[in-house]
Symmetry: C2
Subunit: 400 residues, 2 copies
């Protein structure tokens, strides 16, 4: 018999009050529900007298997207809280602190990051995050390496795989990223102006072949514990700080899916720069900055991952001559393929991104969408032949 029920604000306050490391004194707490109500309740609990605050996040037993509602396992709240804790241990300072988790109530009490901004919003508003590439490459290298067979006991890893089996959330990815965008699915959300581009993708046999490969990797490759949804809407930033949130899609999958999610979402913002007029120098500057960030994310990630392998590798056999180089090249190729898939689905799949959708001028928006599709499909087509991160830069620049 489960005690689960959606919390009232009074209950959320009561739970928050029990977190003595945040609220050691008894002054009044006030609650504000700040979730979008589609998947979770999110209570911001503050103590005006002290300026202290925290977040109570509770999973709802369903998902609402574009009016549709379908049941969704509450077990994702356990997975999210366990992933947050593990990522925080492996990449200190790069995930919110977890104060308490209650699996029965499907809730996590965690650090309030209101002083940060969601990175997607920050990028759209022209923010600069010079430390982002350093931070996210650290997060990726450490969380992926230390949950893989390269960096942890291989029997313990199997038990960890077991506790992160996440069918409901993986299903969302399998449908919305690796299936629906590649045929005329009802869930697609295609602006009339680019329908011809979507239809061209549905007929592109070479592309569909590559998508089948990427889907297979997502379904079968238990390489490391992924965040599983690492787009710029799952990252809180300031110019000084980066915090990765919302790992409810966490499961053991191919590492390149997480690295590719970051790069794909930077490329969506790159495409979105069509909102500037063509002769505005800001368009070119922003794009250069984004491409430099992409290059840094991969280059720093690769260097850190290799260093961890050299210093903390647990697998004797993985020291075979040439194997690390080969592994990193395959990881780059996966990254590029998944970056492409992440890009395409955001243009006309079920869930769009504000980087494109908020461009008010229809012609500019169409150009941005076509650009994103050209980049995304270019990456997917290229992925298994890619040789370096410069391939991504060339594809993005070539699409302009």
């Amino acid at each position: 018999m489960s005690s689960y029920h959606p919390l009232s604000e009074a209950e959320a306050i009561e739970i928050a009050r029990s977190i003595r490391e945040v609220f050691p004194t008894g002054e009044e707490l006030v609650s504000r529900e700040i979730g979008d109500g589609n998947l979770n309740l999110v209570f911001h609990i503050a103590q005006p007298a002290t300026g202290r605050s925290l977040i109570v996040k509770q999973a709802l037993p369903y998902a609402k997207v574009v009016g549709e509602s379908w049941p969704l396992s509450l077990d994702r709240a356990r997975i999210e809280s366990e992933a947050l804790i593990k990522q925080g241990e492996l990449a200190p300072g790069l995930a919110p602190r977890v104060y308490k988790a209650d699996h029965e109530l499907a809730l996590t009490v965690m650090e309030d990051l209101s002083d940060h901004v969601i990175m997607r919003r920050g990028l759209i508003e022209g923010g600069h995050y010079p430390k982002f590439a350093g931070h996210i490459s650290e997060f990726l290298a450490r969380t992926l390496f230390f949950t893989s067979d390269l960096g942890m006991n291989q029997q313990d890893k199997k038990r960890l795989v077991q506790s992160y089996i996440n069918p409901d959330l993986c299903k969302i990815t399998e449908d919305l990223i690796f299936d629906h965008p590649y045929y005329d699915a009802e869930t697609n959300n295609i602006e009339d102006s680019i329908r011809d581009a979507a239809e061209a993708i549905w007929r592109d046999e070479a592309l569909l072949f590559e998508v089948a490969h990427l889907r297979e990797k997502f379904l079968t490759r238990a390489q490391a514990l992924l965040h599983g949804d690492l787009h710029t809407g799952s990252i809180f930033v300031t110019p000084e700080s980066t915090k990765v949130i919302d790992p409810e899609f966490a499961y053991f999958g191919p590492m390149g899916f997480d690295v590719g999610a970051v790069i794909g979402n930077l490329l969506l913002n790159f495409a979105g720069q069509e909102h500037w007029s063509a002769d505005d120098v800001s368009r070119r500057d922003r794009r250069s900055e984004l491409l430099a960030t992409i290059r840094d994310v991969w280059t720093l990630f690769e260097g850190k991952f290799r260093r961890l392998w050299d210093e903390h590798g647990v697998d004797r056999v993985a020291r075979a001559a040439g194997y690390q180089d080969d592994y990193m090249l395959r990881l780059l190729r996966d990254t590029i393929g998944f970056a492409g898939a992440k890009t395409v689905r955001r243009v006309y799949g079920l869930a769009h991104v504000a980087d494109l959708d908020t461009i008010p001028d229809a012609a500019a928006r169409e150009r941005a969408q076509r650009l994103a599709l050209a980049i995304g499909t270019g990456l997917i087509r290229r992925n298994r032949q890619a040789e370096s991160i410069e391939d991504v830069i060339l594809i993005a620049e070539g699409a302009l």
Copy 2:
């Protein structure tokens, strides 16, 4: 508090008596313990008055190999009984019937196959099994296809992955197949006469690179529910019948590991034919027959797997043009690599095979061992470039 304890013969008889479908009448039952005592107790329970019988197999909480003893999870008995039941459902008639399983007592009550012979023994004694390739290809195609993302609901598959997490038994494979044979490990059991050949393998960088790839696949590729130990000692045969037993190593891994196990063990018998004098026509005849069987196993398997895919495929995306051909080629390559790894470890790793070890003449035995190593390393070196099963035949013939 577990009720587990090793059964007495009296207790085994009592359990057997409860299986009314085998023993509907009350005549006396007699028990004979026929296990090797290293991993399991195996009671053969017969009713002399009716000629009926069954097997009670109980896991022991340790493994004994060459005098060493180490603890081993009893959960393997649950995995074994569940795998037997599932394989029996998916490949009717090709696995022993399970009458009862008791996870607390770590026991499985199953069909008595005393009218069959262990295939390794049968091959060594010159038996012919003309239906074997048809049967084992059916077993492989159906058990692998219908537990993969191609043939079953992809969310249910994830839950099945979860219930077959099998760290202890996978560890044995990871050590004894994919690690210890590739350096001077204490567990290796190397005849002095071929020590130079083992040492050459330890220095062979190209080979070690391929082994690292195969090990990675074993560790990370959750493709389908494998038997996990499908050598000819896990197969009971008669000229008319094939029954696959002992799936205690079952877990979700790369399909080629099971197919390769069958082929590798046929190749070990091929190498073992050195026991004939060089001018005996039987040597050549047996080898031709074995190579024909290997060709049939792959060819029939591939045909059946493709037919299942065409008729029962659940994944829309996997219908992309060219994908099935590419998938089958990769599966062949994995099969060849794993067949090679399975062959090498049986020559000088911890656990040898009678196909080689029972050759009384030392010179013939040495020739057989060197032949097995030449074939095994040839397959490993070739695996990722192989184009057809004929590559295996050519490597085997070329090694003579």
